[in-house]
């Protein structure tokens, strides 16, 4: 099975240095990035990361006495490649703030309260259809410590391995209809409006199943497609 990774349309990817995001000018290369033709080394990748890291499951909302505070959500996420083929069996890591906008992390010393029932980290493996289900609460918005009025809108982080080294993806998912989406410096670093829109999940109209959670659907596309078989 051979896999092809083609260059991406730059307008669908974020700019690297963002005005108003103070760390970006210090950390992104000044020299031109080096173009290379991918070899086997970049067109292979770890195929069984769960042998090295501990899976944590996809339910981070808790139950009963230990249920997290916040709007209960089911996120139905599907990972596909550029052919639209499901990427099953790949490790996904998700992390997010609690309903008040607070991360459980030593670097988050924000004002917002900790919810002792919410850690906000799921790690699981996609099924054969490339899908996974997260049961969580809606993350809160939070101010970025730039002191100039930048708030991150509610969002969920994803880290996905995909099939090969160059399909590794770190991305964020947003919620529809959030007024802060329009001014977020990270979401709007992607120049193409349609590409930004694809980072926003879709609310599934409630049907009563589940009766107590809002359901969102989201699709994540990792790089790569099957090589066209050579014609005899």
């Amino acid at each position: 099975m051979s896999y092809v990774i083609a260059p991406r349309d730059e307008r669908t990817q974020p700019v690297r240095v963002i005005p108003g995001y103070p760390q970006t000018p210090w950390r992104n290369p000044k020299q031109p990035l080096v173009k290379r033709a991918p070899t086997l080394s970049e067109l292979t990748g770890p195929s069984n990361v769960s042998r090295r890291v501990q899976l944590l499951g996809g339910d981070v909302a808790g139950h009963g006495e230990t249920q997290a505070i916040g709007q209960l959500l089911h996120l139905r996420v599907r990972v596909v490649d550029e052919d639209g083929a499901p990427v099953g069996g790949t490790v996904v890591e998700m992390w997010q703030a609690n309903a008040a906008g607070r991360y459980i992390h030593p670097n988050d010393d924000d004002h917002a309260p900790v919810d002792e029932h919410f850690y906000g980290a799921a790690r699981l493996v996609t099924d054969d259809t490339g899908s996974f289900l997260l049961r969580t609460v809606k993350p809160g918005a939070y101010p970025v410590p730039t002191k100039d009025g930048w708030w991150r809108p509610p969002h969920v982080h994803f880290s996905i391995f995909g099939r090969v080294w160059l399909s590794r993806l770190v991305t964020q998912m947003y919620f529809p209809g959030e007024p802060l989406n329009a001014q977020d410096r990270i979401l709007n670093a992607v120049p193409d409006a349609a590409a930004r829109e694809r980072l926003v999940a879709k609310l599934v109209p409630p049907t009563g199943d589940p009766y107590n959670a809002l359901v969102y659907e989201h699709q994540i596309v990792v790089r790569g497609r099957q090589a066209t078989p050579a014609q005899p």
């Binding site: 896999y3 260059p7 669908t12 990817q13 974020p14 690297r16 760390q23 210090w26 950390r27 992104n28 290369p29 020299q31 031109p32 990035l33 080096v34 173009k35 290379r36 033709a37 991918p38 070899t39 086997l40 080394s41 970049e42 067109l43 292979t44 990748g45 770890p46 195929s47 990361v49 042998r51 090295r52 890291v53 501990q54 596909v80 490649d81 550029e82 052919d83 992390w95 992390h105 670097n107 988050d108 906000g120 982080h157 880290s159 090969v164 080294w165 160059l166 590794r168 993806l169 770190v170 991305t171 990270i186 992607v190 590409a195 694809r198 980072l199 994540i220 596309v221 990792v222 790089r223």
Partner: protein, 183 residues
């Protein structure tokens, strides 16, 4: 379909995602990988030279025979089953990372090398680079190293600090900036 937009890992990547032992590739599920154990360590700095705390690094490499543990490698059936080829580390408050791994064999058409990825707050995209070993004649013929402007190639070659101990410092921007690849 169009690949999703990347985003920064941000400042709050959960600490528990850098699992204990995830930076040790020399064993897997209690089995020892074949080959010579080596250590790769270094410091990651930003433009002003400040070491970066809690930056996440991942590596991917071939096993001791130069085989990648992935079905696309034609020799996959002979790959070392006790070698995953992947590891993760995070930098300390002093900006230091450390991997224990196996000296990779040279894959077909390549010099022996280790692929690196860097993820961090302020990096909107994963930074990718490749580390080479000093004193390898095959470095001269490696197509990926050859893609790097000649004056910058030495920045991708680790320094040997002792038997099996390599130092590979990374500079994200500025003086001696590490060459990164645009894939």
């Amino acid at each position: 379909m169009i690949p999703s937009g990347e985003a920064t890992i941000g400042p709050f990547f959960p600490r528990r995602y850098v699992d204990a032992g995830a930076n040790d590739l020399t064993q897997l599920e209690g089995r020892k990988a074949k080959g010579e154990g080596i250590e790769i360590a270094g410091i990651v700095r930003q433009e002003d030279g400040t070491p970066l705390d809690n930056l996440v690094l991942e590596i991917w490499q071939a096993d001791a025979q130069g085989i990648f543990g992935h079905p696309a490698d034609p020799r996959f059936a002979q790959a070392d089953a006790a070698f995953l080829g992947w590891g993760r580390a995070a930098t300390s408050a002093q900006g230091e990372y450390r991997f224990r791994t196996i000296r990779p064999g040279a894959p077909e058409g390549r010099a022996r090398h280790v692929n690196f990825m860097l993820m961090f707050s302020g990096l909107m995209r994963i930074l990718k680079t490749t580390m080479y070993f000093p004193g390898e004649p095959a470095n001269e013929r490696d197509p990926v190293l050859a893609a790097v402007p000649a004056a910058r190639r030495a920045l991708l070659v680790a320094r040997e600090e002792g038997p099996g101990k390599y130092r590979f410092d990374l500079r994200l921007r500025g003086e001696h900036e590490t060459p990164f690849f645009d894939d």
